[in-house]
């Protein structure tokens, strides 16, 4: 295989994801979610998953599908307001949830990709988020010490990618996909357009392929809009 990271499809991409795995899933709301991979995870039926993702989708789309099939043991997210099933499972205790500040979530991914094992941040000082964490005071300001994530798998969605795994994202579908792509021990990228090496301009690459282990061209993207809003 060497530098050619191509796999056939989502099913092949996730073949070694086992019960109990920790998986990062890109996307913000339903924007930029790895739709094909989520469908494949539901079909594969892997369970007791720990999912790191900013949101939990909606009841019948995105990660919401995995909640419906009770495949998720724990979610690490920053906002889960759009998914009533999620909130219900959270309040009932069926689902373990760690709510963390969105910036901390993104930075814990980035720092994993930057080889920085832990870092100080002001977000969450004086709140429940600080419970059990070390703090540091520097120049009179208090910071929480947060660890970089340690995720076996990161599954991301990009607009274009080449066979070396170089990725380009589109508009606000970039969001967590870029930092998560850098953070996975095994990063799986599904793209709308898979091209040969030499077709992407090296100046325009958002995530270089060194971070990506498997890439496939996805299909039948629904790209659902959560809050269709227009002006008069």
């Amino acid at each position: 295989m060497g530098l050619n990271k191509c796999v056939k499809n989502a099913e092949e991409a996730i073949h070694d994801i086992q019960d109990g795995a920790t998986i990062m899933l890109g996307g913000f709301g339903l924007c930029g979610i790895p739709e094909n991979s989520i469908t494949a995870l539901v079909a594969k039926g892997v369970k007791n998953l720990t999912c790191i993702s900013n949101n939990a989708g909606v009841d019948d789309f995105g990660i919401g599908l995995m909640l419906q099939t009770k495949q998720v043991k724990k979610m690490i997210s920053s906002y889960v307001g759009e998914n009533a099933e999620f909130e219900r499972q959270l309040l009932s205790g069926e689902l373990e949830v760690e709510l963390i500040p969105q910036g901390t979530l993104a930075t814990r991914c980035l720092m994993a990709g930057y080889g920085i094992p832990f870092f100080p941040t002001p977000a969450g000082v004086g709140t429940e988020v600080a419970d059990g964490k070390d703090t540091v005071v520097r120049n009179g300001k208090t910071y929480l010490i947060e660890d970089a994530f340690d995720a076996e798998f990161a599954i991301v969605k990009a607009w274009k990618g080449d066979t070396y795994g170089n990725l380009i994202f589109k508009d606000t579908a970039r969001n967590f996909n870029a930092p998560m792509a850098m953070a996975g021990k095994t990063t799986i990228a599904e793209v709308e357009h898979l091209v040969n090496i030499g077709e992407l301009n090296p100046n325009e690459i958002h995530v270089p392929g060194i971070y990506v282990h498997r890439i496939f061209e996805g299909s039948n993207y629904e790209k659902r809009i959560e809050q269709l809003t227009v002006r008069n």
Binding site: L91, L99, G126, F169, L228
Partner: protein, 219 residues
């Protein structure tokens, strides 16, 4: 009677200065974008990875890859830029955002804010709120002065889970404009048909009425 949501937003928009980079939270804060004063230019930051958030698209031109922090479809403007979520919160924490406007359930007289959780009832998550309040230079809260039960939301101390400590600079409610000072809330403006007595009665936290407290100018 007090201000309506649009009037609260309109008053907050007066805090915008030319060249500001601004983050507007979901709810009443998003309405501030409708009242940007003529003659100044500001850039709206959407925490999911966009500087230069434009208006909602016209019907038929919605793009699923282009949404704001509230998951609504939007457009871009000349000068817009896309980036990822890590950079988004990097620029927030680095103090590059001049003004943050967000909603709240409670604001304390020392500037503490609670706006992310009602234990046992509403646990949607904090989103970007904790990063924003820990880092922004200027934080303005837009909210109703009392909750649905009539209880004051301007308190001596927050009861609900904290979002951030000592961070709010100003609160604009349906009743008036309140600065946070070392002596608690300072009312600098009151809504046109709202009396000082009503404001005092509905403010549980320590309150001073400014000597030059004036009537808010709203359309």
């Amino acid at each position: 009677m007090g201000l309506n949501k649009n009037q609260i937003a309109q008053r907050i928009a007066k805090e915008l200065h030319d060249g500001f980079y601004v983050n507007l939270g979901i709810g009443i804060p998003t309405l501030v974008a409708n009242y940007i004063p003529h003659g100044i230019e500001v850039v709206l930051q959407s925490e999911n990875g966009l500087l230069g958030m434009g208006p909602f698209p016209i019907a038929g031109h919605e793009d699923a890859d282009l949404i704001n922090a509230g998951k609504q479809t939007i457009t871009t403007l000349p000068g817009s830029a896309f980036f990822d979520s890590a950079m988004s919160f990097g620029m927030i924490r680095a103090g590059k955002v001049h003004l943050t406007v967000l909603g709240a359930m409670e604001v304390a007289e020392n500037g503490d804010i609670a706006n992310w959780k009602v234990p046992g009832k509403m646990v949607k998550g904090m989103g970007g709120a904790m990063d924003l309040v820990a880092s922004a230079k200027n934080i303005i809260v837009a909210m109703q002065h009392t909750d649905k039960a009539g209880n004051s939301k301007l308190l001596p101390a927050c009861h609900l889970p904290i979002t951030g400590l000592h961070c709010v600079k100003k609160v604009v409610t349906d009743l008036g404009v309140f600065e946070i000072t070392k002596d608690g809330f300072l009312c600098t403006e009151h809504a046109p048909d709202v009396t000082i007595e009503e404001i005092k009665a509905k403010t549980a936290g320590k309150l001073t009425i400014a000597a030059d407290c004036k009537i808010m100018e709203v359309a």
